[in-house]
C-alpha cells in the first residue's frame, strides 16, 4: 500500500464500523450490562475481541453475497457508498426512525449500480430481502423454543437463586461472545464489503505456511472499528436504548441473546451451509442481517413464550418501515454523492469494465430464453462504459432487470489463459481427479475472452465436471471451478 489517500477512502468504512459497534453493543450485552450482571468494561472487552475474531475468521460468506449484488471496483466508489450509508443512518437515527446498517448498505450499493449503469442481480437482491423478513421471524421461533426449554428444565431444577445468578452471568458472557462473533462475521460485509473488490492491501506472508490476505486485513480493520465503536459509544447507547427494550430479566436476556446469535450465525456460517447441503437440504443464504431486528424478533419470541398478551405487535410494523425507508434513502444519497464525487471531485468511482456480445454470448442468451435478434448488430463491439452498453441494449428492446443482468454477466470480457505450469504449482492435486487434471493440461495454451467460452471448453460436457445431484458435492465442484477460473484469469 503506497498511497496515503487510501486511508482517507477507507475512513468512511471505518466510521460505518464504529457506528455499527456503537449501535449494536446494546443487542450483544445490553441486558447483561443494564441489569448489572456484567460490568460494561468486561462486556466491551469480550465483545471487541469476538467481533474482531468473527470478522477476520468468518466474514467471507456474507461479503460474497454483497459483492454479487454490486461489484464496486474503484475505491472512491466504495468510499462514497460507505459514506452514504453513514449519512443515511445518522439522518434516520436523528429522525427516530428504525434503521439497520445492512439495509442501508444494500440501498447504497444499488444506488451505485444505477449511477454506473451496472445491472443489479435480482436473484441476490431477492435472497437478501427475503432474509430480512425471515430473520426476525426465525429469531422469534428460536427465542420461543429456547425460553420454553429453559422453563421446562433450568427453572424446574430448583437451583438456588444465587447459584442460578452465577450460572446466568457465565451464560450471558458466553452467549454475548457468541453473538459478538456472529455479529462481526455477519456484519463485516456492511462495513468492508464494498472495499473488497477494490482492496488496497496486499497479501501478507506471516510464515511459509500462513498468509494474511488483503481481504482479511480489511476485515481486521473493520472489526477493529466495530470494537472501538462498542468501547467508545456502546455504553451511552445502552443507557438510552437499554432501559426500554432490553429491560428484561437476565434469564430472559440470555434466551434473547442466544436466539439472536443463532440466527445471525445460520445466516453467516459456511459450515452450516455445507452441512445442510450435505444432507441434500436447501442452504440458508449467507446475508448481512440487522442485528437489532434479529434481537427484537427474539424478544418477541420469548415474550410469546411467557405471556402472549404482553406483546406489542406494532414493533413488527416499525421493523418493516426500516426495510423500505433505509435502502431507499441510502440509495438516493449514494446516487447524489456519486454524482458529486465523480463530477466535482473528479474521482474514479468505477474502473472501466469491458463488455462484448460474441456468438457464444448470443447462443447462451438464447438458451436462457432471451430474445437476441435485436442484439445481433451489437455483436463484436467492445463497450467500456456500462451506461452506454446498457442504453444500447435498452434502446433495442425492453429487457427486464434480470435479463439485463444476464446480458451484462455473459458479455463481460474476462480473459483467461490456461497454463499447465500453474496446475502443478498452484492446484492442490489431491482435491482433483486425474481426469480433471489431465483435461486441464490438455488445454494448455488455450485462451478465452469470455467466461462462458472458458466454461464451455473446460467444463461443459465432461463427465468429471458434471454435477452429481448431491448438493454439497455440487457446491464443492462449483468452488473448484471458481478456483480454476481465478487461477487462469489474466484480467477482468
Amino acid at each position: 500500500m503506497t498511497d496515503i489517500s487510501v486511508w482517507f477512502f477507507i475512513s468512511s468504512g471505518l466510521f460505518l464500523g464504529w457506528s455499527l459497534g456503537a449501535n449494536n453493543a446494546v443487542s450483544l450485552f445490553g441486558t447483561a450490562v443494564t441489569s448489572n450482571m456484567i460490568k460494561f468494561k468486561t462486556a466491551a472487552i469480550i465483545a471487541g475481541i469476538f467481533v474482531i475474531l468473527g470478522s477476520f475468521i468468518s466474514g467471507a460468506g456474507t461479503t460474497n453475497t454483497l459483492t454479487n449484488l454490486g461489484g464496486i471496483n474503484a475505491i472512491a466508489g466504495s468510499f462514497t457508498v460507505a459514506f452514504s450509508v453513514a449519512l443515511a443512518i445518522t439522518w434516520m437515527t436523528k429522525a427516530s426512525l428504525p434503521v439497520s446498517t445492512s439495509q442501508a448498505v444494500v440501498g447504497a450499493i444499488i444506488g451505485w449500480n444505477i449511477f454506473t449503469g451496472s445491472p443489479t442481480d435480482f436473484s441476490t437482491l431477492s435472497k437478501i430481502v427475503l432474509s430480512w423478513v425471515f430473520s426476525p421471524v426465525i429469531a422469534a421461533v428460536f427465542g420461543f423454543i429456547i425460553f420454553k426449554i429453559i422453563k421446562m428444565t433450568v427453572l424446574k431444577w430448583k437451583i438456588h437463586m444465587l447459584e442460578l445468578d452465577s450460572y446466568t452471568r457465565i451464560g450471558l458472557i458466553i452467549v454475548g461472545a457468541m453473538a459478538s462473533y456472529s455479529m462481526g462475521a455477519n456484519n463485516i460485509a456492511n462495513v468492508m464489503g464494498m472495499f473488497v473488490p477494490a482492496t488496497p492491501f496486499k497479501d501478507l506472508a506471516i510464515s511459509d505456511l500462513y498468509e494474511i490476505t488483503g481481504v482479511q486485513q480489511l476485515f481486521f480493520l473493520g472489526g477493529l472499528a466495530i470494537a472501538v465503536g462498542v468501547f467508545t459509544y456502546g455504553s451511552r447507547v445502552m443507557k438510552t436504548v437499554g432501559s426500554d427494550l432490553y429491560k428484561i430479566s437476565p434469564i430472559t436476556g440470555f434466551a434473547v441473546v442466544l436466539a439472536g446469535a443463532l440466527v445471525m450465525w445460520i445466516f453467516t456460517s459456511q459450515s452450516i451451509e455445507r452441512f445442510l447441503l450435505s444432507i441434500n437440504l436447501p442452504s440458508i443464504p449467507l446475508v448481512p442481517l440487522s442485528a437489532t431486528q434479529s434481537f427484537i424478533g427474539a424478544v418477541i419470541g420469548v415474550g410469546l413464550a411467557k405471556d402472549p398478551l404482553s406483546i406489542n405487535f406494532k414493533v413488527f410494523g416499525k421493523i418493516s418501515i426500516g426495510w423500505v425507508v433505509a435502502p431507499i434513502l441510502a440509495g438516493i444519497i449514494s446516487f447524489v454523492l456519486l454524482f458529486f464525487v465523480q463530477n466535482v471531485f473528479e474521482q474514479k468511482i468505477i474502473e472501466p469494465v469491458t463488455h462484448e456480445i460474441s456468438d457464444s454470448v448470443i447462443l447462451r442468451l438464447e438458451e436462457e430464453g432471451i430474445n437476441t435478434t435485436v442484439l445481433t448488430d451489437l455483436k463484436d463491439i467492445r463497450f467500456t462504459n456500462n451506461k452506454v452498453f446498457k442504453n444500447e441494449i435498452l434502446e433495442r428492446d425492453k429487457f427486464d432487470g434480470e435479463q439485463l443482468f444476464k446480458i451484462f454477466y455473459y458479455a463481460l470480457i474476462d480473459s483467461f489463459k490456461i497454463d499447465s505450469s500453474l496446475i502443478n504449482s498452484e492446484l492442490n492435486l489431491n482435491d482433483y481427479s486425474t481426469e480433471q487434471i489431465n483435461g486441464l493440461k490438455q488445454l494448455h495454451g488455450h485462451s478465452f475472452s469470455h467466461k462462458i467460452d472458458f466454461e464451455k471448453v473446460v467444463f461443459s460436457g465432461k463427465e468429471e465436471w458434471n454435477y452429481k445431484g448431491n448438493k454439497l458435492q455440487d457446491k464443492l465442484l462449483d468452488e473448484k471451478k471458481e478456483f480454476i477460473e481465478n487461477l487462469f484469469r489474466i484480467q477482468r
Binding site: 427453572l155 438456588h160 447459584e163 452465577s166
Partner: protein, 212 residues
C-alpha cells in the same frame, strides 16, 4: 470453584431463616411457660430468644453487605434485602412481645389461657410459613404461592382468636385497666401474624418480578 462463595452465602441465608424459625418455636414455648406460671423457664426462653434475635441481626447485616459488595443477584437484590429486613422485624416483634410479658406480667384469666396458646400457635404458624415461602422464593418459586395462601389462612385464624379473646375479656367484670391490658397482649401477638402477612405481600410481588 466459582460457586464456593455463593454456596457460603446460601448457607448463611439458610442459617438466618433457621434462626427465625427457632425464634418462633422459643416464643411459643415461652408463652406456654408463662401461662403455666413456670416463670424461671419463661425467663430462660426470653434470654434465648433475645440472643437469637441479636445473632440473626448480625447475620442479616453480613448477608446484606455481601450481596451489595459482590453485586450478586442485581435484579432481585432489593427484593431479597427487603424480605430479609421485614422478616427481621417479625423476629424483633416476637422477642419484644415476650419481653413485654416479662416486664408487665399481665394477668391472664383461666378461661383465656387456651385462647392465648391458640393465638401464639397460629401467629407462629404464619411466621413459619413465611420463612418457608422465602426459602421457596430462592429455590422453588412455584411453591411460593402455596405458602402465601397458608400464611393468609393462619393470619385470619389469628385475627379470629384475638377477637374472641377481646370479646371474652370485655364481657367479664374485671376492671377496665385489666381488660385493656389483656387486650393489649392479644393485639401484640396478633401483630406477629400481621407483619408476617406484610412479608408475604412483598414475597408475592418479588416472585412475580423474578422472571419478568
Amino acid at each position: 470453584m466459582f460457586l464456593k462463595k455463593t454456596k457460603k452465602l446460601e448457607s448463611e441465608i439458610d442459617e438466618y431463616l433457621d434462626l427465625v424459625i427457632k425464634g418462633g418455636l422459643i416464643f411459643k414455648l415461652g408463652i406456654k411457660c408463662y401461662l403455666e406460671n413456670l416463670m424461671e423457664e419463661f425467663e430462660n426462653h426470653l434470654k434465648d430468644l433475645r440472643k437469637i434475635e441479636e445473632k440473626a441481626d448480625d447475620l442479616r447485616r453480613n448477608i446484606e453487605i455481601k450481596l451489595y459488595t459482590r453485586t450478586l443477584i442485581p435484579e432481585s437484590r432489593g427484593d431479597v434485602l427487603g424480605l430479609l429486613e421485614s422478616m427481621d422485624k417479625v423476629l424483633n416483634i416476637t422477642a419484644e412481645t415476650l419481653l413485654e410479658f416479662s416486664v408487665e406480667i399481665p394477668e391472664i384469666i383461666q378461661e383465656l389461657k387456651n385462647h392465648y396458646l391458640q393465638l401464639a400457635d397460629s401467629a407462629i404458624a404464619c411466621l413459619e410459613n413465611t420463612v418457608s415461602g422465602i426459602r421457596a422464593y430462592f429455590k422453588n418459586i412455584d411453591a411460593v404461592r402455596d405458602y402465601v395462601n397458608k400464611v393468609q389462612f393462619y393470619k385470619k385464624e389469628t385475627n379470629k382468636t384475638a377477637e374472641q379473646i377481646k370479646r371474652t375479656i370485655f364481657r367479664t367484670d374485671k376492671s377496665l385497666s385489666r381488660k385493656i391490658h389483656v387486650r393489649y397482649f392479644a393485639f401484640h401477638i396478633e401483630r406477629i401474624a400481621e407483619l408476617s402477612e406484610d412479608v408475604c405481600d412483598r414475597l408475592s410481588i418479588a416472585s412475580i418480578k423474578r422472571f419478568e
